[in-house]
Amino acid sequence: MSAAPGDREALKEFRPQRTVPAVIVAALLVALGAVVAAEVISGLFGRPLGWLPVRNLLEWGSTTLWQSPAVLIGGIVVTLIGLALLVLAFVPGRPRMVPLHTSDPQLVIGVRPQSFSDTLAHAAGEVPGVRSAVAALRGRTVAVTATTSGWNDAATGEQVREAVLARMAGLAPVQPYKVSVRLKERP
């Protein structure tokens, strides 16, 4: 599929916003900063709040060597959390909408993923010999499961694929989806 000028915009528009991890990290920053600042300032004025076990921490720090396993494991855990946050920041994530091609670069259209798979399932359900069909999006693949009467499955499978591809071509998603068809016989 050729990349229309609006396609990149459409993909960007529907990228996840990462609200949940952002809120968690921001709340942790606030809590950490507040506790540390309150403890240190109250200590500087000679009336420590005692929220943090400063004495115990100091003792632990004075007796624990850098080469001790606790420090090593702690460092590894912190590094892994950092890596996870970087991944969240840079991986585009599953779009919340299926973006569609448009002729106008200023117009971005997206279909709800549920609607997208439902309409493809309905298209499959209209194929003769198919009793019912469901479709699910798995990454960039549409997995269609059709229940058939089972008398001519080879032809039915191909017809289901074609019907789904035709409905999808009508919608013109920005990113192509593969179609995988599974037939279930129920005479």
Binding site: T19, G82, L88
Partner: protein
Amino acid sequence: MNRTTRRGNRLGLALVGLLLIVLGGAAVARSLALMPQNWAPAAEPLVNGPVREFFAFSWAWWLVALGGIVLVVLGLRWLAVQGRRSRLSSLRLDSGPDGVTEISASGVTEAVAAEAAASPAVLSASADLAGSPRHPEVRLRLVADERAPIDEIKDHLAGVAIPHMRQALETDELPAVARVSLKPPSAR
């Protein structure tokens, strides 16, 4: 949703992630004696002579307190923008010599929603304006007939509804985002 918030969230997560990787990585390196031993020995307690000397100055503790306060301010600011709703309630058209024209967003959005719903493929439509008063953006939510050719909706939006909206707002630039739900015709 809000593009600035999305970019900010990703930037914030990347910065915090990077910081944690640097700190955690340094701790691991020192723990495994990968750092120059005459400078950062592994066989030393976490709180050793130089650390004690540094924190013997009271300004060192003030520095820590300041760091905590900075964290609180940054964190609160980051939290505050999460609730940022970019919905506009009114728009300012180009101000002429005789004053400023302000129009309410609801009139405009109702008009564009009605126009979008005029397409036979569209079962229902609603709209609001987002962005800033100078650079507004239309957000449409459409429920469409899944059997109708979606091209019809695209052409109708790009050819009729959005151009009319541009005229009404006296602007050439008007990005529009439409979120479409599809319904089978029987579920009307």
